[in-house]
């Protein structure tokens, strides 16, 4: 019997494309393996001719089909934005660790900008689960707030924060957390810019609340052998992308300070 090749891209047809903001599109497709994705896991997306890049996987709140949510920041993501219903992409995964809701009763989701993408599913599924979610949804301005209507319809309490005050409180996510973090959360689940994540680690260390964070680094293989996604001795693709507080403590000094570029050279985190 021939076993299927797990790490060969499966070609899927795009079923739906939706604008989530001026710079962010959802791309919805059918795929059996991705349909059982756990929140926080990612896929390697092949855009033929262009590249293969890592993308968080989630389920479309509307159709419940697998989807990726893409911000166009470069060549491959721009190419993804050009695709339409009926076009093909290749996909392998789901890969990596996931957010673990375990026995948590109260979860605080903390999202900065596109950081909501890997957290979306936890919020959308909360009505069928044991836990209850609050969500801090931060962005520069109202235009960059993603999935606001979907999240409003979910069984969660939403706290939007924008830097210019165009939606919700004015300020930074971390200000809101420092001011009003309640101690009855079992776990914080977080994704966003690394300086924000570092501040959240600082906060979590002073409490008994658990912390799980999704991180990003440049990925080439996605299956834990090339080393390009290395962060303090962890592989973001295989040991992550979701890390717990113990792991985050071990990588604290590197977070927000250093990363590797495509050649593998260690560079300042803020380069380019």
């Amino acid at each position: 019997m021939k076993k299927s090749l797990l790490h060969k891209p499966r070609i899927v047809r795009i079923e739906k494309v939706r604008n989530e903001s001026n710079t962010v599109k959802s791309i919805v497709f059918k795929d059996r393996l991705c349909a059982s994705v756990k929140p926080g896991q990612f896929s390697m997306i092949w855009i033929p001719i262009y590249d293969e890049i890592p993308m968080s996987l989630s389920l479309d709140p509307k159709s419940k089909l697998p989807m990726i949510v893409v911000k166009n920041i470069g060549e491959a993501t721009n190419a993804l934005h050009e695709l339409n219903i009926g076009d093909s992409i290749g996909i392998r995964g789901p890969y990596g660790t996931s957010f673990n809701t375990g026995s948590a009763k109260r979860i605080l989701l903390i999202a900065g900008g596109t950081g909501i993408i890997p957290l979306l599913q936890i919020a959308m599924e909360s009505n069928q689960r044991e836990y209850k979610c609050d969500i801090i949804l931060g962005a520069k301005n109202i235009e960059e707030i993603l999935f606001y209507e979907d999240l409003k319809s979910a069984d969660c309490t939403l706290y939007p924060v924008t830097e210019d005050g165009s939606l919700g409180k004015q300020g930074l996510v971390i200000d809101l957390i420092k001011k009003s973090l309640k101690s009855d959360y079992d776990v914080l689940m977080c994704c966003g810019p690394e300086p924000m994540i570092k501040s959240i680690i600082d906060v979590a260390r002073k409490t008994n609340i658990g912390l799980q964070v999704s991180l990003e680094r440049i990925m080439k293989c996605g299956i834990g052998i090339c080393g390009s996604c290395e962060l303090s001795g962890f592989r973001v693709c295989k040991d992550g992308p979701v890390f717990d507080l113990k792991e985050l403590n071990a990588m604290y000094n590197v977070l927000g300070n250093l990363k590797r570029n495509h050649s593998g050279k260690v560079i300042d985190f803020n380069t380019k």
Binding site: P48, G90, K220, C221, I225, C226, G227, G233, R260
Partner: protein, 313 residues
């Protein structure tokens, strides 16, 4: 001669000596597998590798190819990363961390010409590596290695020059993509190399029938994993018959019995790469356990005693 009863009571000895280095076991992490990072090399030592090899680096940095750079095929993995590397001068900065793993660190280098090999070897040697492996066989960067590895005269000049430049043990990693690997191995030995590694990946490709295009962005890549084990094994066996310097077996070592097979064929140690995809970091301890059990079953006291036993004289 040790008595049988003594052997049965003894813990099987997995340690080996190669290139004047003492290895706790014959399992070496292959080049290009996690070796871009010192802390990952350290981690592989901590999970049981007997020695570790760095990612091949050359005098200047390379970003590598666009994706896909890896794709699974039947019983194997194809890769064409395009030798992404930060350059030797950056790579040696990873050594301090790598050495905390307390196993020998083999430093893999490549180059476009003799000068580049020597330059890279000098920087690595000055940084205090335990041994240098020359990647003359990487099949997927045009003009780099496949041409060098296929040209016995050039290979010989490179090995001689590198040996003149540095005092470290020099291993030459051979390509299977040649018509006669044994003659290349002989040239390498005559030029003064201290050991050979056989084999690097086998040139291959994969085409997607829906997209109707090669999957790898570079179209052609190198095949590794179980599919190439019989090829690697044959190469080691043939080289052992004609060459006296130690051979490091490589290619599709996925379970403990593969290690035994390679050693019986004539390998003094093995390198492990693709097996990490399925077994991840547990692979080294798992293999060590299997090898120890085999040694107990067969009354083998020292693993080095089986090297080349498959050659009946």
């Amino acid at each position: 001669m040790r008595r049988k009863e003594d052997i049965e009571q003894m813990e099987p000895d997995l340690s080996i000596e190669i290139l004047g280095l003492k290895l706790k076991n014959p399992l070496i992490l292959a080049s290009g597998i996690l070796g871009i990072s010192g802390s990952l090399l350290k981690r592989m030592a901590e999970v049981g590798a007997g020695a570790v090899t760095t990612k091949s680096t050359g005098p200047s940095s390379r970003e590598g190819f666009k994706g896909p750079v890896v794709v699974e095929v039947e019983d194997g993995l194809l890769n064409s990363l395009g030798l992404p590397n930060p350059g030797v001068s950056e790579m040696v900065k990873e050594l301090d961390e790598a050495k905390k793993g307390k196993v020998p660190v083999i430093f893999s280098i490549y180059g476009f010409d003799i000068n580049e090999y020597c330059k890279a070897a000098k920087i690595a040697s000055d940084a205090g590596v335990d041994a240098i492996e020359l990647n003359i066989s990487c099949p997927h960067v045009k003009e780099v290695s496949v041409e060098i590895g296929q040209d016995p005269k050039l290979v010989s000049e490179i090995v001689k020059s590198v040996k003149e430049t540095v005092d470290k043990p020099v291993i030459v990693k051979l390509s299977p993509n040649v018509s006669d690997i044994v003659s290349i191995a002989k040239v390498v030995e005559e030029s003064g190399a201290d050991a050979v590694t056989a084999i690097n990946t086998v040139k291959a490709m994969s085409i997607d029938i829906d997209i109707k295009k090669p999957v790898l962005s570079n179209r052609i890549g190198g095949l590794s994993g179980p599919a190439i084990k019989p090829i690697g094994l044959r190469c080691v066996y043939e080289i052992f018959e004609k060459v006296k310097i130690p051979i490091i077996g490589c290619g599709g070592v996925s379970r403990w019995s593969d290690v035994i097979e390679y050693m019986l064929a004539g390998a003094s140690a093995v390198q492990i790469g693709t097996a990490l995809v399925n077994e991840d970091t547990a692979i080294f301890e798992k293999m060590k356990k299997g090898i120890k059990k085999y040694m107990l079953d067969k009354n083998i006291g020292e693993i080095s005693s089986i090297v080349g036993l498959a050659h009946t004289k």
